[in-house]
């Protein structure tokens, strides 16, 4: 039991912080520009692929820096020449544009790198187990992922709450026209936030690629969950995104380890359920099987009982 708790906690933490790296950029972009960037997870995937290509030539470490920069620039260009152009048609058109972009990125990734998982691996230094406990090992690479995401979280927190740039960003979220009046270039700030958000997503992709596998499906695997995170945390709330990321990360990893169903519960309390009944689907399913839909069930519950999200101020 202790083994299960410790390892689930660690894996949940890694997964949750990875989610946070995506969710932080997404929620910042959303609260500033009102744009929900559907292509955010595709940019995360792009980060992994670009880093893979770079790692083929110069190794893993330069890719860790170069790929987010390249993809961040790509994100800034998308904002400047795509999103800004569509802005005049309204938020729904912007959302549809990013949806189309997500579709295109996936197609181009398949065109360039093929449909199969590419062999993007962690560097040899990190391809070792960090420690062993109860006969189970914890890979050093996961610890590295943990380290990078915690560092990003701290940097983000400091920049947004302690620096002048953070001050302008926070002001531009709530009062864009006033910030513009004071002489700041708000479109430039938007482009910057979009670029940095993309770079963060790309960095998440770079570190997740070797661990979760770099394939054209990796965007679809994570994208919807990130949306759930920012709704559950409260739209526009960075702290909310952090808490919700960890919550969902923990929830999904713990669920995988629990092989228990309602049927067993009913059995334990003395009720006998027919395993072949019409509604048997509902009680023979185990918690582990329910793992993938748990975030969405949480989303529905939050929407019914607390429409602002955990830390949000605006009602959804």
């Amino acid at each position: 039991m202790a083994e299960l708790i410790i390892f689930s906690l660690l894996h949940g933490l890694v997964y949750g912080l990875l989610l946070f790296m995506l969710a932080s950029g997404l929620t910042l972009i959303f609260s500033m520009m009102g744009v929900l960037n559907f292509a955010h997870a595709s940019i995360y995937m792009l980060g992994a692929y670009v880093a893979y290509t770079i790692s083929q030539y110069v190794g893993f470490w330069p890719g860790l820096i170069i790929a987010p920069v390249v993809v961040g620039l790509f994100g800034a260009l998308v904002e400047r020449y795509g999103l800004r152009h569509v802005h005049k048609y309204g938020h729904v058109a912007e959302l549809i544009f990013t949806f189309g972009l997500a579709f295109l990125i996936e197609e181009f990734v398949q065109l360039i790198w093929g449909k199969q998982t590419v062999g993007y691996h962690e560097p040899a230094v990190l391809a070792v187990p960090l420690f062993e406990m109860y006969g189970q090992t914890f890979p050093a690479y996961k610890a590295f992922m943990l380290l990078v995401s915690v560092a990003i979280f701290i940097v983000l927190l400091v920049v947004l709450t302690r620096s002048r740039v953070g001050l302008i960003i926070n002001a531009a979220i709530t009062h864009p026209s006033m910030v513009s009046m004071l002489g700041h270039n708000v479109p430039m700030v938007f482009m910057g936030v979009f670029g940095v958000g993309s770079a963060l997503a790309a960095l998440a992709g770079v570190i997740a690629g070797p661990s979760l596998g770099t394939s054209p499906g990796m965007a679809v695997l994570l994208g919807p969950i990130v949306f759930v995170v920012i709704v559950v945390g409260g739209l526009g709330s960075l702290i909310g995104a952090f808490v919700a990321s960890l919550l969902i990360g923990m929830m999904t990893t713990f669920a995988v380890a629990i092989d228990y169903s309602f049927g067993q519960f009913f059995m334990d309390v003395g009720l006998n359920m027919d395993p072949d009944g019409v509604l048997s689907d509902l009680y023979t399913v185990t918690i582990a099987q329910l793992g993938p839909i748990m975030p969405y069930m949480l989303l529905v519950l939050i929407l019914i009982f607390r429409p602002t999200g955990l830390f949000g101020t605006r009602e959804v």
Binding site: F30, G34, V35, L36, G82, H85, V86, Y89, H91, V92, A93, L95, I96, F97, F99, G100, L101, F103, L104, E107, F108, L111, I112, W113, G114, V220, P224, F227, V228, I230, V231, L235, S280, D281, L282, V285, Q289, L290, P292, I293, P295, Y296, M297, L299, V300, L303, I304, P307, E315, V316
Partner: protein, 430 residues
């Protein structure tokens, strides 16, 4: 009193033709199509098209008419399919005496019920928030359909044999053409009902809530209720489309519920044009044609569809129907003639640009997918060596040159159009 009733009957007969006349021509076309296109493949494509038309028009009931962008409308389509296929199986087992043509009602029921259930908490807001919730619900149902295997059959899905259901006046729906007429009937009924819905007060209110929810609230209408009703009814029609899918293919899998199906319906509606009732019909027809025809010629057809989609969003947000409707006032004023020359002028570089882009992308695709030792590809009825730099240079030059020239003449063409439109409305040149 008699005067009034006389006036009413006198007014009714021309307005009847005007009201329903426009349904007559499509009806004749739809009924005669199987005689014109006799191959089974063609009929299969038509069946697919009909299903897509219902689904897309139902979808546009929300996106175009109600301002709700959904990324999870396949939920109602898929559930409609599952309910219908279980319905067919139960009928085959002799549990219910229901003829096959009524089976889509199972789908409608499923769509309505789940639309009401999910709509009850997701229609509080429109726009981005609604989109996100619909995405979450879509993912939840898609994953659920793999988990609750008793209902959904897991990865293999659920199959049925429609011929084992009750015959309908002797028709057993064994051939493609028979199922075509069944689908055509439902397409007509559903599209007609959806059109009538858009003309009812609640349909008009959906437009009001889309355009200005606050003002609608001040007029005393609950925006939530208006959206909820549109949402539920749209779900019901999507369910009918799903049920027809089930009857046509006799199998329903997770694919009918998943995000890809939800995305495709958005693509169809948007490419066709969400601002018009006919837009999604055009979109569904063209998309199905592209999908079935293009996939014979190229493996990267989805990439082209994506490019067309993004191009539509950026440069023609009113869609294909919007492009056509743009020219209606000009044509009515008899000024199309002034536009032919500038349009031909821009069409040439645009065509060269498109050929260059297609050649470039195809070369790329062949380069990354080809087996070693292979270096030939066949496009545009010619053979190219995709490893040769000349091929790449020619296509790139065509793409860039065409793009450059098209962009150069574009302002002048837009000006000519503006002039023609100005003439159409004012009767004088600018």
């Amino acid at each position: 009193m008699s005067n009034i009733s006389n006036a009413m009957t006198a007014g009714a007969s021309p307005s009847f033709l005007r009201r329903y006349g426009m349904w007559l021509i499509p009806a004749i076309v739809v009924v005669s199509l199987p005689w014109l296109l006799t191959s089974t493949v063609a009929v299969a494509v038509l069946n697919q098209m009909g299903i897509a038309v219902i689904f897309t028009v139902a979808y546009n009931m929300m996106l175009g008419q109600g301002g709700m962008l959904s990324f999870g409308h396949a939920v109602y389509f898929g559930l409609g399919g599952y309910f219908a296929i279980h319905g067919v199986n139960m009928i085959s087992d002799g549990e219910w005496p229901i003829p096959l043509p009524f089976v889509p009602l199972f789908g409608a029921f499923a769509g309505l019920a789940f639309g009401a259930l999910f709509g009850s908490f997701s229609t509080n807001r429109a726009g981005t928030v609604f989109a996100m919730i619909s995405l979450g619900l879509g993912e939840m149902m898609a994953s659920s359909s793999l988990i609750f295997t008793k209902f959904s059959g897991g990865e293999e899905g659920i199959t049925a044999d429609r011929t084992e259901a009750l015959p309908f006046f002797g028709v057993e729906f064994t051939t493609e053409v028979q199922i075509y007429y069944l689908i055509a009937f439902w397409v007509f009924l559903a599209v007609f009902l959806m059109y009538r819905f858009s003309r009812t007060p609640i349909g008009r209110l959906a437009n009001a809530v889309r355009d200005n929810p606050e003002r609608a609230e001040f007029l005393g209408y609950s925006q939530k209720w208006v959206r909820f009703i549109s949402f539920t009814i749209s779900g019901g029609f999507a369910g009918i489309a799903g049920a027809l899918f089930a009857l046509n293919y006799e199998i329903v899998t997770e694919e009918t519920v998943n995000a890809l199906t939800s995305g495709v319906v958005l693509l169809q509606a948007y490419i066709g044009g969400v601002g018009f009732f006919a837009g999604p019909i055009v979109g569904a027809v063209i998309f199905t044609l592209l999908q079935t025809l293009m996939s014979n010629y190229t493996e990267i057809w989805a990439l082209y569809v994506g490019l067309v989609f993004v191009g539509t969003v950026m440069y023609a947000p009113a869609g294909l129907t919007g492009l056509i409707m743009m020219h209606v006032p000009v044509a009515m004023a008899g000024r199309m003639g002034t536009l032919t020359q500038p349009y031909a002028r821009i069409a040439l570089p645009a065509l060269i640009c498109a050929i260059g882009a297609i050649g470039f992308l195809e070369s790329w695709h062949h380069l990354s997918a080809a087996a070693t030792g292979e270096f030939e590809m066949h496009i545009f009825w010619m053979t190219f060596d995709f490893t040769s730099p000349i091929t790449w240079f020619v296509f790139s030059a065509m793409f860039l040159g065409g793009l450059w020239d098209a962009r150069r003449v574009a302002p002048a063409v837009a000006d000519t159009y503006g002039n023609a439109l100005h003439y159409a409305f004012t009767g004088e040149d600018q």
